[in-house]
């Protein structure tokens, strides 16, 4: 976690203190915490537990139940491959495997150098563009395997340009 | 915006905001609307057909003729003289500022030529009278 950690916790506290009621607020608080920190490490979990006055085990139990929450920090470049049914029948698995091979990593992990996160997502609902992926929030639709290398290179080029 | 306090107030608002959407509502029901085509195409841009368009549109709007749509058409739509000499692909039919009016269910339009602001007013009031009569 970064040096301005204190400020981040303060932001979270301000949000929790402003809640009209703490009853049933856990999931929305976790949403906010993930917005602020980018992920939900142990420190954040225990902090939330204390603030809401519930056991840390309950926080952990809830956040591991929902796929939207993550306990690991994501990479600099985030590749999400839609694995909804429409994309699947149009070859999304091939796209995912191509990324796995080219980036030399497994799906749903972050690379050791922290440069890439590769995730298989549930439907993002843009079935007209199947198979579709999002890279750093930007979508690329109607992909074929050969497009993958170019997309990776474009990300790296942008990285180099910074 | 003050809050709506009754069904009547909501109704008044609906009348007001109908202006936003009436073009879309009417256009989706092409069988019952009257269409006024103002031919512009390439020649019309030079000959002032844009002024004709504005005049017609303003008249229709002023008369609140909801079921009348003012549409720009290519000049070929209004050109009944296919044998007219052509230069650089443009018809030189000798007529400008042509306006076609299609009433609902009618195949043949009423055709007007060289329509200026005064003529536009006449055409639109003619339509209004006819629609009124059909309605009654």
């Amino acid at each position: 976690m970064e040096k301005n950690e204190k400020a981040l916790f303060a932001e979270l506290d301000a949000h929790i203190d402003a809640l009209p009621s703490k009853q049933g607020a856990l999931i929305s608080v976790l949403h906010k915490a993930q917005d602020i920190f980018g992920y939900l490490p142990r420190e954040v979990q225990t902090h939330v537990a204390q603030k809401l006055d519930i056991p840390a085990s309950k926080v952990y139990g809830v956040l591991t139940f929902y796929s939207f929450f993550t306990m690991t920090q994501k990479g600099k470049n985030r590749v999400n491959v839609c694995m909804g049914t429409a994309c699947f029948v149009r070859g999304a698995d091939k796209i995912l495997h191509k990324f796995e091979r080219d980036l030399n990593m497994k799906a749903n992990t972050t690379s050791e150098d922290g440069l890439w996160s590769l995730d298989a997502l549930r439907c993002i609902g843009a079935c007209g563009l199947a198979p579709i992926i999002t890279v750093n929030g930007k979508s690329h639709g109607r992909l074929v395997e050969d497009d993958v290398t170019g997309i990776i290179e474009a990300c790296l080029a942008e990285e180099g340009g910074k | 915006m003050a809050k709506v306090n009754s069904r009547e107030e909501l109704k008044a608002l609906r009348e007001k905001y109908r202006d936003n959407v009436v073009m879309r509502l009417v256009s989706d029901d092409q069988k019952t609307r009257t269409e006024i085509y103002v031919a512009i195409g390439n020649c019309g841009m030079e000959s002032g057909a844009r002024d004709t368009l504005k005049a017609i549109f303003d008249e229709v709007n002023a008369a609140r003729l909801e079921k009348v749509s003012v549409i720009v058409s290519d000049c070929s739509k209004g050109c009944d003289d296919a044998d007219a000499p052509k230069v650089d692909g443009l018809f030189l039919c000798g007529h400008d500022r042509m306006v076609d009016v299609y009433f609902p269910g009618e195949e043949q339009p009423l055709r007007y030529k060289d329509v200026d602001a005064a003529k536009a007013k006449e055409i639109v009031s003619g339509i209004a009278v006819r629609l009124e009569a059909a309605h009654a």
């Binding site: 009853q23 049933g24 139940f65 939207f68 909804g84 029948v89 149009r90 439907c123 | 073009m23 749509s69």
Partner: protein, 604 residues
């Protein structure tokens, strides 16, 4: 009357945003300014028009021209030729795949011709971020009517008489649900809108919220009035940021206009709506799991009874319907139950929205009367299967539904017919599959989904589905045994019978339905070690035949360098290439690289 001579609607749904509609809007404005006619045109970013395959879509009013696949750099031509001179930009018009003719009007397209829009009536027609548009088309009139003309019971009677059934899954009659909500006396009651659209490949609820959010809000208020609730919650997927945003805007506007809040339209009725984000759990589509999630807990289903209408959110009486169901309500109130009932079938009145996707030409969102046949949906509206391939199956109902084969294509779709042929309506996802799809592999895909999404509360679902998945995995790898097929059936039936909630009750459907209709494919895998569709990697080999001219194109793309020139000689004396099957990972990258006129690489 009209503020401007022209209105241009740009589809602003998620699909069209992905295909670049925001750039279209920007370039269009720039071009209008350049030509000096910005003041003649109103630009409206509307909700989904449905024809996602052809996005971004731009509609020009009043002449009603429907442009498809419009990109930013097309805008200048659109302005200078069409808007100024009245010449349609022919290359941007939709071309009929049959006649090749350009279609100007959307009703000329086979995709729209047989559709009937009720839930989607105003979607793609009004500006979803502007309540004035909604009021202009008669919005909130139904709420006003319920507040001034009808008693609570009368509202429910209208809904009952319409025969409306819940669009989210099993098709429970909405009016009856509301009746239970009214009958359970309590000071505090809740209305929930289930917008946790979890079926992969279904996006109708999202499109409704993006395109016509006020219809949902109005209907929730009507439901609140009917049962006597003063609080409504929309439980929506966090993965739908655009829908969340539009819903929040719509709620704020409705409050400002007094359509939500205290003493609505001076009737003494109070109602508020808030948005609650889900966090990615398919099981939360089940209403009791959803309620647990709303309370900040793990989304595990509760035992029923008590039903939510008795003890729901915070143990208070709660009525929960899904987005599409709500979207039908204002029109039913305004136009009457008889109007609604004239469409659809006797037991399933009205229309249904389907998300048509997969191996189909016209991917998109469609709404048709109940009872429309699958054949019409696939081959008329959907435009058939791409690349001249053969239709194999259509999957309805997402992970809870089943695969339907060719022989049932003439069945008219409604809640009961789909159940009778081993599938279900679900939320209305329809995924079309062609000859290249292996049905065993598809069943495995759905099971993998269920295994991951099972909440783990009850054993048949948690363990039974995992065992089924393992068997399917084995079969797709060529290690299946004949008795596996018997076991799949028995296990599937047990899970259906013994699970607590709808997820477990329906999870085996994809397997059982494919076992019923595509037994030959299972047998091919188990008995002959073959995948007829060529989709199961372990049962497929890539082989280079003697047609090889030793050009080496295939070897260059092989990611694992397993293609080497070690074969027989070509007439030119070069060594043909051979794939080392030990090293091959069967990625298939070599296949498209072999020039089609050579065609030396084949899949066995």
């Amino acid at each position: 009357m009209h503020k401007t001579r022209l209105q241009i609607l740009i589809c602003g749904g998620t699909g069209c945003i992905s295909s670049g509609c925001l750039d279209v809007e920007e370039q269009l404005i720039a071009s209008l300014e350049k030509h000096g006619i910005r003041d003649e045109v109103t630009i409206i970013k509307a909700g989904c028009f449905g024809f996602c395959e052809q996005g971004p879509i731009v509609k020009v009013y009043p002449d009603n021209t429907f442009y498809v696949k419009v990109h930013g750099d097309d805008c200048d031509e659109l302005v200078s030729e069409h808007l100024l001179k009245g010449k349609h930009v022919d290359r941007l018009l939709f071309k009929s795949p049959i006649t090749g003719e350009s279609c100007h009007h959307h009703m000329d397209m086979a995709f729209y011709k047989t559709q009937l829009r009720i839930a989607l009536m105003h979607c793609g027609m009004v500006d979803p971020e502007n309540i004035e548009d909604y009021i202009g088309v008669g919005g909130y009139e139904a709420l006003a009517k319920c507040l001034t003309e009808y008693t609570q019971q009368e509202i429910i009677d209208v809904v009952k008489a319409s025969g409306l059934r819940g669009r989210g899954g099993a098709g429970f009659p909405t009016g009856n649900k509301w009746q239970f909500g009214l009958n359970n006396q309590n000071d505090k009651k809740y209305i929930i809108c289930n917008a946790d659209e979890g079926d992969p490949g279904a996006f109708m609820d999202r499109s409704i919220m993006e395109g016509d959010p006020h219809a949902v809000i109005e209907a929730m208020a009507i439901a609140g009035r009917a049962i006597g609730a003063d609080e409504g919650v929309v439980y929506i997927r966090a993965e739908y940021p655009l829908a969340v945003n539009r819903l929040r805007i719509a709620i704020a506007q409705a409050e400002k206009y007094g359509m939500l809040g205290d003493n609505i339209m001076n009737s003494g009725f109070n109602f508020r709506v808030r948005v609650n984000l889900g966090a990615g759990a398919f099981v939360c589509g089940e209403e009791t799991a959803l309620i647990n999630s709303l309370e900040g807990k793990r989304g595990e289903p509760r035992l029923r009874p008590p039903f939510p209408a008795q003890k729901g959110l915070w143990n208070q009486p709660t009525v929960n319907c899904n987005v599409e169901t709500y979207a039908c309500i204002p029109l039913i109130i305004n136009r009457g139950p008889e109007w609604f009932k004239q469409y659809g079938t006797e037991k399933s009145p009205g229309t249904k929205v389907f998300a048509l996707a997969g191996k189909i030409n016209n991917v998109g969102l469609i709404e048709v009367p109940m009872g429309t046949t699958l054949r019409e949906v696939i081959f008329e509206i959907g435009g058939g299967i791409p690349k001249g391939k053969k239709f194999k199956a259509i999957q309805t109902g997402g992970p809870s539904g089943g695969c339907i084969c060719e022989k049932h294509l003439d069945v008219g779709v409604d809640f009961d017919t789909l159940t009778s042929i081993g599938s279900m309506m679900g939320s209305g996802g329809m995924i079309v599959m062609d000859e290249d799809d292996c049905m065993v592999n598809i069943a495995k895909f759905y099971l993998e989904f269920t295994v991951e999404e099972s909440c783990g509360k009850c054993t048949p679902c948690r363990i039974g589905n995992t065992r089924m998945y393992e068997i399917l995995d084995r079969i797709t790898k060529g290690k299946g045994k004949p008795e596996d097929l018997v076991e799949l059936r028995e296990l599937g039936q047990t899970i259906k019978d013994a699970s607590l909630c709808g997820l477990g009750n329906t999870a085996p459907n994809p397997v059982l339905s494919t076992l019923n209709y595509f037994m030959d494919e299972y047998e091919a895998h188990v008995l002959h070690g073959k995948c007829p569709a060529g989709a199961c990697k372990d049962l497929v080999n890539f082989v280079i035949t003697d047609k090889c001219i030793a050009c080496s194109l295939c070897a260059k793309v092989c990611p694992v360098n397993c293609i080497h020139p070690t074969g027989s000689e070509t007439p030119n004396g070069k060594k043909r290439f051979v794939i080392d099957h030990e090293a091959c990972i069967k990625c298939g990258a070599c296949l498209p690289k072999c020039p089609p006129k050579i065609g030396a690489i084949i899949k066995e």
